[in-house]
């Protein structure tokens, strides 16, 4: 166990000032808001077909579910984070955030039509660039793409790649197939080529039941099931050899939780030893590959409030590079400004807030480098 982890759990209230928030959600834009960012074909057909009157927010994160908007952040509209002003006054200023990465959770990433998905993703990204990134220098963006059609996703990545305010590619955790499959590799290759990590965010298309045993009845089941969805995706990426094929690739799991990692590591490493000949390109135990290539946003911390339990979990994970600070604004994951659990301790908290994001996001590191040399 390393020193940093051993000394955890001493401090009480940890400051978030100067941190890089790696998962912040501006409210998903209304379809009418996106119309100006669509080309004339899609604009007209959307209006003709009444699509502009539909909400294309994702059903996997319903805005009115209490967990999706913290009560004190919910505006009269029922949403949170729907204006730049609220994001500044609720998510940036109080935390003293230095930079925040905006993940817009919009249904564009999971449309059945490849072309409509690509058009909408393009619109969301353009809207994000103009209405948010262009107006607030503390904000960075994720290039939302639909993983369903890799060719169109790559085109969108290449189109935005010169804009350094976009710092990662965004896809969702639930897709048509496990994310290690080769059909998705062009997306990962394009991302790595452009120094963009791939963020895999909780949620998705629900084209498969969110649990491996079938459709659950209740929100609590679908929500908790995200953990096992991420476990499956993590192992798929490792087993299919994505990181062997694209060694520069960094993947960020957002809103995946991370306290399931110890048992995942034990189980994956142990099983790998017995069946590794099936995937001979996997020449290291899965946990080592994950620790090198995959990062996890901090919130939600699905741990009990007792400091000791989280300290023990971190000790089992035994890798202080793996977490990235996030508030997950406006989701209700903690009270007040307590985005950093006390168990982290000051040194690790700092690493999670600054060093780990800088090591993960080359474009943010380049920005910081410029500021330092000024």
């Amino acid at each position: 166990m390393n020193e940093m982890i051993r000394s955890l759990g001493k401090e009480s209230r940890l400051s978030t000032v100067g941190g890089i928030d790696c998962d912040l959600h501006p409210a998903s834009p209304a379809t009418t808001t996106l119309l100006p960012y669509l080309d004339d074909y899609w604009r007209e057909t959307f209006v003709m077909r009444g699509v502009d009157r539909l909400s294309l927010a994702m059903t996997s994160s319903p805005a009115h579910a209490p967990i999706n908007v913290r009560a004190d952040w919910r505006a009269k509209s029922g949403f949170a984070g729907d204006t730049l002003e609220t994001v500044r006054s609720q998510a940036l200023d109080p935390f003293g955030t230095r930079l925040a990465i905006c993940n817009v959770l919009h249904g564009s990433m999971i449309m059945h039509s490849d072309d409509m998905a690509a058009a909408l993703c393009g619109a969301v990204n353009e809207w994000l660039a103009r209405e948010w990134l262009g107006k607030e220098p503390r904000l960075r963006g994720s290039i939302a793409v639909s993983a369903q059609n890799a060719e169109l996703a790559v085109a969108e990545i290449e189109k935005r790649a010169d804009d350094n305010r976009f710092v990662q590619v965004l896809i969702l955790a639930q897709n048509d197939e496990p994310l290690g499959r080769r059909r998705y590799w062009p997306i990962y290759e394009a991302a790595a080529r452009n120094k963009l990590p791939v963020c895999i965010h909780a949620g998705g298309s629900n084209r498969h039941a969110p649990t491996a045993t079938g459709w659950p009845s209740f929100f609590v089941e679908a929500y908790v099931a995200q953990g096992s969805i991420f476990e499956s995706q993590l192992l798929s990426l490792v087993a299919e050899g994505v990181f062997h094929k694209i060694p520069e690739l960094k993947v960020v799991f957002a809103e995946s939780g991370f306290t399931w990692l110890p048992s995942f590591f034990w189980r994956a490493d142990k099983t790998w030893r017995g069946v590794r000949a099936e995937t001979p390109w996997v020449t290291e135990q899965p946990s080592d590959i994950v620790k090198r290539h995959v990062r996890f946003t901090l919130q939600p911390v699905e741990a009990p409030l007792e400091t000791d339990a989280l300290v023990r979990t971190l000790a089992h994970i035994d890798c202080d590079d793996i977490l990235l600070f996030s508030t997950d604004y406006p989701h209700a994951q903690f009270e007040g400004l307590n985005a950093l659990p006390a168990a982290l301790g000051e040194t690790l908290a700092r690493k999670i807030m600054i060093d780990n994001p800088l090591a993960t996001y080359p474009r943010i590191a380049a920005d910081f480098g410029k500021e330092v040399s000024k």
């Binding site: 050899g241 062997h244 094929k245 030893r273 017995g274 069946v275 000949a277 995937t279 001979p280 135990q285």
Partner: protein, 137 residues
């Protein structure tokens, strides 16, 4: 170190393995393409008999989707959970530095040479017309 006669050469065909007991130890003896090797029989994981494992090749790959099988029959897969051990060295494939079994020097000697000693046949009758597998412990 003593030399122990553990088997007749023609008792163990190519690609086969056998448990032998030498100086109170259980040893797994293998015939790999006509060469004999001996490693401790007890799997360091949970104690399965390595002499009962399948003798397999080494699966390797340069990239996902490409498969290469080399060193045919030179590894043994533990019969319980499938960990692979290099029959030549006793080292496991997945964790060669820490997970390994002891390997012993093995030679083949004619009965004539053995009768001149020094060797320990224990309960093993040696005849001068045959060849024997000798393990050094």
């Amino acid at each position: 170190m003593a030399r122990h006669v553990v088997a007749k050469v023609d008792e163990l065909d190519i690609g086969k393995s056998k448990l032998v007991k030498v100086a109170g130890r259980d040893i797994a003896l293998f015939n790999v393409k006509g060469e004999f090797f001996a490693i401790a029989n007890r799997c360091p994981h949970e104690g399965a008999d390595l002499c009962r494992g399948q003798m397999v090749g080494l699966a390797e790959s340069d990239e996902p989707g490409q498969y290469r099988m080399t060193r045919h029959g030179e590894l043994v897969r533990c019969p319980w959970h499938g960990w692979e051990f290099d029959i030549r060295t006793g080292k496991s494939w997945c964790d060669p530095a820490r997970t390994r079994v002891k390997s012993f020097d093995v030679s083949v000697a004619s009965g004539g040479a053995l009768v001149e000693g020094p060797y320990q046949a224990e309960t093993f009758p040696v005849s001068i017309d045959e060849d024997y597998v000798v393990v050094e412990i």
